[in-house]
């Protein structure tokens, strides 16, 4: 989908494109936990032959792709309760051991979706604080504080155009100062002391256009025009 604006034409990444972009940056040998939604799709885009080991909160290392419909194993689901497979070298363990891996900083990376990310790395992805709705946190808070690196994947703005990269989160926090990198439909940004450093933008998009869609302070990065 092409988006128009006052300065030119550019194409935001769709969900598959976003997942593919993240997958590129995961090196061989990393142990990675993927949140539900777009993060889960990242596994499908790791280049063939690159060994990355995927972890699931419910006691699995070595998650493989979804099975064919006639090969479903009803005892094998991921944290999103979808049917999955186990790769050669995978293992099963119980929940306390699974969160030992998470909380004990053994995962190289966790990739999560988010409602909001603040420029100090604060993450809000578990509650919109809707009155009357039951809160539900799952493993998000453990993953946010536990993984060696936390990357967020999300649209750059909400569906109605409000920024999701903020000076300060408005929703309840999942964890303070935990995000190291954000992949949005428009850009790749690192959390640095000055704000979000722009590592990469979709072709045709300018720094100023990106800033216009971002409440947080952006700083220009080396990879995209230098400072």
């Amino acid at each position: 989908m092409k988006s128009e604006n006052n300065f030119g034409k550019w194409t935001p990444l769709d969900r598959g494109g976003l997942a593919r972009r993240v997958a590129q940056d995961i090196p061989e040998g990393w142990y990675v936990n993927l949140g539900v939604g777009v993060p889960t799709q990242v596994a499908d885009h790791v280049p063939q032959g690159r060994e990355v080991v995927f972890h699931s909160e419910n006691g699995i290392l070595g998650l493989g792709p979804a099975p064919m419909a006639d090969k479903i194993d009803r005892w094998l689901v991921n944290a999103g309760k979808q049917y999955v497979t186990l790769v050669r070298g995978g293992s099963f363990f119980h929940h306390a051991d699974s969160f030992t891996m998470i909380r004990g900083r053994h995962l190289d990376l966790c990739v999560l979706g988010a409602f909001e990310v603040a420029q100090n790395g604060d993450l809000a992805n578990w509650s919109t604080a809707t009155p009357g709705a039951a809160p539900a946190v799952g493993g998000a808070m453990d993953l946010a504080v536990g993984a060696k690196r936390l990357w967020v994947v999300m649209d750059h703005t909400t569906k109605d155009g409000r920024p999701k990269l903020l000076r300060k989160c408005t929703y309840p926090l999942t964890a303070p100062a935990c995000v190291s990198r954000v992949y949005t439909s428009l850009a790749v940004l690192d959390v640095v002391p000055e704000g979000f450093r722009v590592v990469e933008m979709v072709p045709g998009l300018s720094f100023n256009e990106l800033q216009a869609r971002t409440e947080a302070q952006l700083v220009q990065g080396d990879a995209n025009g230098g400072k």
Partner: protein, 226 residues
């Protein structure tokens, strides 16, 4: 001769009282001892506190226990119910108490109960709404929350195979909370798909040694259907 097998779900649940705290294993629909949960219903138990990762699925097991208003309070990480509005309805009507606990903290609080650790510090939830009212402490420059052990009166566990000493193995992602909960309750009750002779399960591969298990009932129900 030690023989922890009992002949029926009713025998397995003998002695459980209204108001008990029940630990229920399972993650999603996998590894949840639904026949034992149905047994709680048949036994007419009320005013229960249930500890489980989720608040049930569909119209069976835990979801049904909730619908029948047998549960006073649920302690879980993710209470949403797929294909059923029973929890949300009860919650909005103020007819059920909810304690939301991060999944890893839930697992660790149960593990702590089993391991004789009354309290521990964790970074999980520090600086968030879920730490409100809890003791916090800075250790080596990082903020931690003090969490308490979570004990059960009863644990309902689903195993893949069990022998008469109560040694257990699980199946794939059916393991999840089951071995942890087995350690954390005063009375641990197991429903198992398969039976093993004593000595048949390789001693190197036993996941839950029988010391944690009180009663086992054989329920060869097949695969989880949700």
């Amino acid at each position: 001769m030690i023989d922890k097998f009992v002949h029926s779900v009713a025998d397995a649940l003998e002695g459980i009282k209204d108001g008990a705290t029940i630990l229920v294993g399972g993650f999603g629909a996998v590894g949840q001892a639904n026949h034992l949960i149905d047994g709680l219903i048949d036994r007419g138990l009320r005013d229960l506190t249930v500890v489980a990762n989720n608040a049930g699925y569909g119209q069976i097991g835990l979801a049904r226990l909730l619908q029948l208003r047998r549960v006073r309070k649920i302690i879980c990480s993710f209470p949403r119910i797929a294909g059923s509005t029973s929890f949300e309805d009860l919650y909005r009507a103020g007819e059920i108490e909810l304690e939301v606990v991060p999944q890893g903290t839930l697992a660790e609080r149960l593990r702590a109960a089993g391991a004789g650790i009354p309290a521990f510090f964790t970074a999980t939830a520090a600086g968030t709404d879920l730490a409100k009212g809890k003791e916090t402490r800075e250790i080596n420059g990082r903020s931690y929350v003090l969490e308490n052990a979570l004990y059960g009166d009863v644990a309902l566990v689903e195993a893949w195979r069990a022998d008469r000493w109560g040694n257990l193995v699980y199946r794939e992602s059916g393991r999840n909370f089951n071995p942890v909960m087995a350690t954390a309750a005063a009375l641990t009750i197991v429903q198992t798909q398969h039976l093993a002779e004593l000595g048949e399960i390789d001693p190197e591969t036993i996941v839950t040694p029988g010391i944690f298990v009180n009663r086992v009932v054989h329920i060869p129900y097949g695969d989880p259907m949700l």
